[in-house]
C-alpha cells in the first residue's frame, strides 16, 4: 500500500483501533522512517487530541488534586484532612492547656497568698497570746458604757509593746485606714502602725518594741498611706 492508501487510517492506528493488514502496513512504513507517514501520524495525533478535548468538562472533586500531588510525593493525600484535623485538635488542646496552666498558676498563686496570710495571722495570734500571757502586760478597755461602738482593749507591755483588740469598728471609705498613736505624757503623738478592719468589724493590731508604761494610746482614721501626725479626730483612746 502507498502512503496515500493509508491516509485515512492513521487516526484509528494512533488510537490503537486498527488491526489486520492496514496496521502491519503502517508499522512497516513507520519502521523505515517514511517521512510522509510520519507527518500523517502527527496529523492524526493532533486530530485525536483535539477530538478528545471536545468532551464536556466536569469539575473534579478537590481531593483528586491532592491525590495526584500525593502520588508524586508532594502532598499527603487521603488522610490529609485527618492530619489537618489532628493539627487543629493539637492546637486547641495546646491552647486549652495553656489556659488551664495559667488558671492553675493563678490559683496556686492565690493559694500561696492565702497560706502566707494564714501563716501571718497565726503568727500574730501566737504573738498576741504570748503578749497576753506576760505578767507585766496591763489592760485598759475603751468604749465601755458608751452608747455607740467601737469597744475593745489595749494591752501594754513595756518590754514587748502594745496589743489592740477592737470590735464594732466602722467600715472605712476607700483610700482610708486606721492608724494607732502612742502619745507620751506632755509629748506629741507618735505613729504606732496602720491596720485595716477585719471580719465583722473587728481588728487586732500589734506594735512591737519597748513602750513607756504611762502613755495614752489612740486611734484615728487617716489616708491610706498613713500620716506622721493625726489629721482627724480621735476615734477612741485609753490612758495607762
Amino acid at each position: 500500500m502507498t502512503c496515500e492508501d493509508l491516509r485515512d487510517s492513521y487516526e484509528l492506528y494512533s488510537l490503537g483501533l486498527l488491526d489486520g493488514e492496514e496496521k502491519l502496513e503502517i508499522d512497516a512504513h513507520l519502521a523505515r522512517n517514511c517521512t510522509v507517514c510520519q507527518k500523517y501520524l502527527k496529523d492524526a495525533l493532533g486530530v485525536n487530541a483535539l477530538m478528545l478535548s471536545q468532551v464536556q468538562e466536569v469539575v473534579p472533586p478537590s481531593r483528586v488534586r491532592r491525590r495526584v500531588m500525593a502520588s508524586v510525593g508532594m502532598e499527603r493525600a487521603g488522610w490529609g484532612w485527618a492530619a489537618a484535623m489532628a493539627a487543629a485538635c493539637s492546637l486547641i488542646v495546646t491552647l486549652w492547656l495553656g489556659v488551664e496552666k495559667r488558671t492553675t498558676d493563678r490559683e496556686l498563686t492565690n493559694a500561696r497568698a492565702t497560706l502566707q496570710q494564714t501563716e501571718a495571722e497565726r503568727g500574730r495570734l501566737e504573738q498576741a497570746f504570748t503578749f497576753l500571757n506576760q505578767p507585766e502586760t496591763r489592760q485598759v478597755n475603751f468604749g465601755q458604757g458608751q452608747p455607740t461602738p467601737p469597744r475593745g482593749n489595749f494591752f501594754l507591755n513595756p518590754r514587748m509593746g502594745v496589743l489592740l483588740i477592737a470590735s464594732n469598728l466602722p467600715a472605712l471609705p476607700a483610700g482610708k485606714t486606721y492608724e494607732m498613736w502612742v502619745i507620751p505624757k506632755g509629748g506629741a503623738p507618735r505613729p504606732a502602725g496602720l491596720f485595716q478592719l477585719g471580719p465583722q468589724g473587728s481588728a487586732m493590731h500589734i506594735l512591737t518594741g519597748a513602750v513607756d508604761s504611762n502613755v495614752t494610746l489612740a486611734v484615728t482614721v487617716e489616708p491610706e498611706a498613713g500620716s506622721p501626725a493625726p489629721t482627724s479626730i480621735v476615734l477612741f483612746s485609753a490612758g495607762f
Binding site: 485515512d8 487510517s9 487516526e11 484509528l12 494512533s14 488510537l15 490503537g16 483501533l17 486498527l18 488491526d19 501520524l41 502527527k42 496529523d43 492524526a44 495525533l45 493532533g46 486530530v47 485525536n48 487530541a49 483535539l50 477530538m51 478528545l52 478535548s53 471536545q54 468532551v55 464536556q56 468538562e57 466536569v58 469539575v59 473534579p60 472533586p61 481531593r63 483528586v64 488534586r65 491525590r67 495526584v68 500531588m69 502520588s71 508524586v72 508532594m74
Partner: protein, 204 residues
C-alpha cells in the same frame, strides 16, 4: 463590571482553557527538573480536561479519580523521555488519559486485554513532538466542533465509539449491527472530514 457578571464556575473554566494556551515548553522543562510547582501547574492546566475525558469514558467517578491519578503519575514518571523543546504536552496528556480509560474498560469486560502493550507503544512521549502551535487552541477546537456537527448521525456515532469507548471497527459493526464495510466507510469518511477541516485551517 464584566467580571461580576461571569459565574465563578465559568470563570474557572475560562481560566483553565486560557492556561492551555500558555507555552508548554517551560512547563515541560520544570517537570523534567522535578519542580513541585510545575506538577501543580500541569494539573491545573489539564486536570479538569483529563478527569472529564476519563469520566466520560468509564462513567464511574471513583474509577475516574483513580485513573486521573494514574495518568498524572505516568506523565511524571515518563517526563524524562519527553522532548521539552519540541513536545506538545496537551496531546500527550490526553492520549495517556484515554489509554488509562481504555485499559480500564478492557479489563472490566475482559476484551482485548492484549492491547495494553500496543497502547503503551502509542503513547510514547517521543511521538508528541513538532505539533502545530497551540494544538488544543480554542480556534482549532471550534473548527473541529463545527466539522463534527456536519457529520451524519452514523458518522457521529462511530467517531464517539472510537474515541470515547475504544471500539474497533469490528466491534462497532457488532454494536451497531451493521456490515463491517459500512462501518469502515462511515469511520473513514468522518475522520477525513475532521482532518481536512483542521488542515484547511492550518493552511489559511
Amino acid at each position: 463590571m464584566i467580571a461580576r457578571l461571569i459565574p465563578v464556575s465559568l470563570a474557572l473554566a475560562l481560566l483553565q482553557v486560557s492556561l492551555r494556551f500558555k507555552d508548554d515548553g517551560d512547563l515541560a522543562r520544570r517537570l523534567r527538573a522535578r519542580d513541585a510547582g510545575a506538577m501543580r501547574e500541569l494539573y491545573d492546566r489539564y486536570g479538569r480536561l483529563v478527569y472529564s475525558l476519563i469520566l466520560r469514558m468509564v462513567r464511574n467517578s471513583a474509577a475516574a479519580e483513580d485513573l486521573v491519578q494514574e495518568t498524572f503519575l505516568r506523565i511524571w514518571n515518563r517526563m524524562q523521555a519527553f522532548d521539552q523543546e519540541r513536545g506538545a504536552l496537551g496531546p500527550w496528556v490526553l492520549t495517556v488519559a484515554r489509554n488509562r480509560a481504555i485499559d480500564y474498560l478492557r479489563s472490566a469486560d475482559a476484551r482485548m486485554s492484549a492491547g495494553a502493550l500496543e497502547l503503551d507503544h502509542l503513547e510514547h512521549p517521543g511521538r508528541y513532538c513538532d505539533f502545530e502551535d497551540r494544538a488544543l487552541s480554542l480556534d482549532r477546537a471550534r473548527r473541529l466542533k463545527d466539522a463534527f456537527e456536519k457529520l451524519t448521525p452514523h458518522q457521529k456515532t462511530v467517531v464517539e465509539l472510537a474515541y470515547f469507548e475504544g471500539l474497533s471497527q469490528t466491534e462497532m459493526a457488532e454494536r451497531m449491527q451493521q456490515p463491517l464495510g459500512t462501518v469502515k466507510t462511515w469511520v473513514r469518511s468522518a475522520l477525513k472530514v475532521l482532518r481536512e477541516q483542521l488542515t484547511e485551517a492550518a493552511a489559511v
